[in-house]
């Protein structure tokens, strides 16, 4: 899918930071003299999503991708920075698709009622007949049959439940879907069904997705642009094809290298050491420096900012060269 050059911008995250207070309880702080501690879940993250495209946030656990998802739908408020919806008509209808299709559907409700709830609450159809027709239409749209509306969630498999979640999200006439690991709980053959459905719906309805995943091959399949996150910050951002063909940041390279290649598996892999450090107590300078083979003294003292490179990718790394500050390039693209 080619990104339309002058497509309307759906959402802008502008230096979004989200801190969580993880201090010990007050009494412990007083008696044991423990300091207040904060966790920087998301730290100065900026990106934008054009209408009708998919931007993916990838990273390992603790990198802040799920917090970012919750910030985008408004379940958390940013500590600083802001999330803007610059389009005409103000804030679009935003919906979220969750990872676990077993936990996100009410087990005591019939599927018809689950999908009809947003329609009734938001008064999108007048009268029960119109609501019923709309629910049938949505069920068919996501590949179920109108008869399935009378069943309860436990009668469906994981993949079918995820279809119900998608139908419920679309019932609000949402234009912007934030999908937090929507296929991680599914088997691969079912995952393919759901990914195909999501791509089809995007093309038919012009939906905008922010797709959160740790699975790089799924991200590759779904995205127009990709932002790689590490310990709350974006370390590399750019067009999906470019990032996968030519990763710049050492962390992105590590992630792409560790994915087993089924056509040509690397059976004598020498794995890189290290794990993601705790976001409560991140290392100084560039947070990736303890695991990085290229780290210099500067990486321990200074934190690299996200900078645009000559080939259009944005990378936060001192080792990558030919850099222009990211902020300037954003301004240029807004004038166009």
């Amino acid at each position: 899918m080619a990104t339309p050059e002058n497509a309307e911008i759906m959402v802008v995250a502008d230096k979004v930071t989200c801190l969580f207070d993880v201090s010990a309880p007050l009494l412990n702080r007083l008696i044991e003299r423990q300091p207040r501690r904060t966790l920087r879940a998301v730290d100065g993250v900026s990106f934008e999503v054009k209408r009708g495209t998919t931007v993916s946030l990838v990273g390992e656990s603790g990198c802040g991708k799920s917090t970012m998802a919750r910030l985008l739908v408004g379940l958390h408020r940013p500590t600083s920075g802001e999330i803007r919806f610059p389009g005409e008509g103000g804030r679009p209808r935003v919906q979220m698709i969750f990872q676990d299709p077993y936990a996100s559907l009410n087990p005591r409700w019939r599927v018809r009622d689950i999908i009809a709830e947003p329609i009734r609450t938001l008064n999108l159809r007048s009268g029960e007949d119109a609501t019923r027709d709309r629910v049938d239409e949505l069920l068919v749209l996501v590949g179920l049959s109108p008869r399935d509306g009378e069943k309860y969630p436990h009668e469906f498999s994981g993949g079918q439940r995820q279809r119900i979640s998608i139908a419920r999200a679309l019932a609000t006439e949402a234009e912007f879907l934030v999908c937090d690991e929507p296929t991680s709980a599914l088997d691969v053959s079912v995952q393919a069904q759901i990914l195909n459905l999501m791509r089809k719906l995007q093309q038919e309805l012009g939906l905008t997705y922010v797709f959160i995943s740790h699975n790089l091959s799924v991200v590759r399949h779904m995205s127009d642009r990709v932002a790689v996150m590490y310990l709350g910050r974006i370390v590399e951002e750019g067009e999906a094809n470019a990032i996968f063909a030519n990763p710049q940041h050492p962390y992105t390279k590590l992630l792409i290298d560790t994915i087993p290649n089924l056509e040509d598996p690397n059976r004598d892999r020498k794995p890189l050491g290290g794990e993601v450090p705790s976001p409560i107590n991140p290392p100084p300078g560039c947070a990736f420096n303890p695991r990085c083979g290229l780290a210099t003294d500067r990486c321990w003292k200074e934190r690299p900012e996200l900078m645009r490179q000559s080939d259009g990718q944005n990378v936060a790394c001192f080792v990558a060269d030919t850099r222009i500050p990211f902020e300037e390039t954003v301004l240029v693209s807004e004038e166009v």
């Binding site: 993949g159 393919a192 091959s217 999906a240 996968f244 890189l272 290290g274």
Partner: protein, 346 residues
């Protein structure tokens, strides 16, 4: 490496003779669950061998019976689940008929186990050193000092930095990857000849997954330990396993050398499974999907369990269940396509 799954056991076509005595030999094993609505057959006719130092991957989707097969080997089937048929041989000793007490001797001593979630495999209130020492002393009968030395040696072997300090830490003080290393050390404690690893990397981050699979492979090579690696992740299989058995609806549908099964699968289900994995190299417009889902235990179709989803299915597939039979030199597949066609009627 061993040649095929079902070497020379009756009921299945005979295979080329095996070159070495297998560590584990599973013969025609089935697992069933008695319920109020009758007997549910969860797995049936599962047969395979694992040679010393070999890693056999077992893949399949959730509910295919791959974990149950692993559990029946260790003897940890959760009641009311029980073995309905078959034999399990470990180093020429039949282990499925042992008494509970004898089983405990085999478990841990001869078979180590690694499960998906390292946090639930470790006791949260004891230091990892204490847990290791307990296992070592129970199975090897060493004294306290020797057991601690052995525990340290194990922690070093699985690559835990600063093992001298870390041995006195509690499980919650370790990160996910390090915890899984401790669990591997526990599984290795008594020097078992077989390790059952049930989704050992699923709960870990991608960069740590590679570390754990490399460690398993290295230990397997160094100690000659056989590993039954149960996973749903084809990538892990491609990089780790020597041979792979693909399970569908409680049966092995294909078994053979890992790279052959992954790159030239013979069974339509394996082909569909491989095609539905998104590629890192090429971005396809749409993924190949297998429509439908695996049948439930209480509504198994007649004939081949895959035929309702199979695009090659013919009249024979709906009537007769295909046996696992040799296809080419090293592979076996349970599909009529390779056994006289889907139209015939035997």
């Amino acid at each position: 490496m061993m040649l095929t799954a079902s070497s020379g056991h009756k009921g299945l076509p005979s295979m080329p003779a095996v070159s070495r005595t297998p560590v584990l030999s599973v013969r025609n094993v089935g697992v069933e669950f008695p319920t109020r609505h009758g007997l549910l057959t969860a797995t049936e006719g599962v047969s395979f061998d694992i040679a010393p130092g070999e890693i056999l991957g077992m893949v399949g989707e959730s509910g295919a019976g791959k974990s149950l097969t692993g559990m029946s080997v260790i003897g940890l089937l959760e009641p009311p689940g029980r073995l309905s048929a078959g034999e399990i041989w470990l180093e020429s000793e039949r282990i499925d008929t042992l008494s509970l007490r004898e089983r405990q001797r085999v478990r841990g001593r001869k078979i180590g186990a690694i499960f998906q979630d390292p946090l639930t495999s470790l006791h949260p209130l004891f230091t990892v050193g204490k847990q290791l020492c307990e296992t070592i002393r129970y199975h090897l009968g060493l004294d306290k000092k020797a057991a601690r030395a052995r525990a340290l040696e194990l922690l070093n072997q699985v690559g835990i930095p600063g093992a001298e300090q870390r041995i006195d830490h509690y499980p919650h003080q370790f990160s996910g990857g390090m915890r899984q290393r401790v669990v591997i050390a526990l599984a290795l404690a008594a020097g078992p000849s077989l390790i059952i690893a049930d989704e050992p990397t699923t709960a870990l981050d991608v960069s740590v997954q590679a570390q754990i699979t490399a460690l398993l492979k290295q230990l397997c090579r160094e100690n000659g330990t056989a590993i039954l690696l149960v996973t749903h992740d084809m990538g892990v299989i491609a990089e780790t396993a020597d041979r792979v058995a693909v399970m569908y609806a409680g049966r092995v549908v294909e078994i053979g050398p890992a790279l052959d099964v992954i790159q030239r699968p013979r069974h339509p289900y394996t082909q569909g499974l491989m095609n539905s994995i998104p590629s890192l190299k090429i971005r396809a417009e749409a993924l190949n999907q297998i429509d439908g889902s695996m049948p439930r235990l209480d509504s198994m179709p007649q004939g081949c369990a895959f035929h309702p989803r199979c695009s090659f299915a013919g009249p024979r597939c709906a009537k007769q269940r295909p046996p696992l039979a040799a296809v080419g030199e090293n592979m076996s597949a349970a599909c009529w396509l390779h056994q006289g066609g889907v139209n015939g009627d035997a």
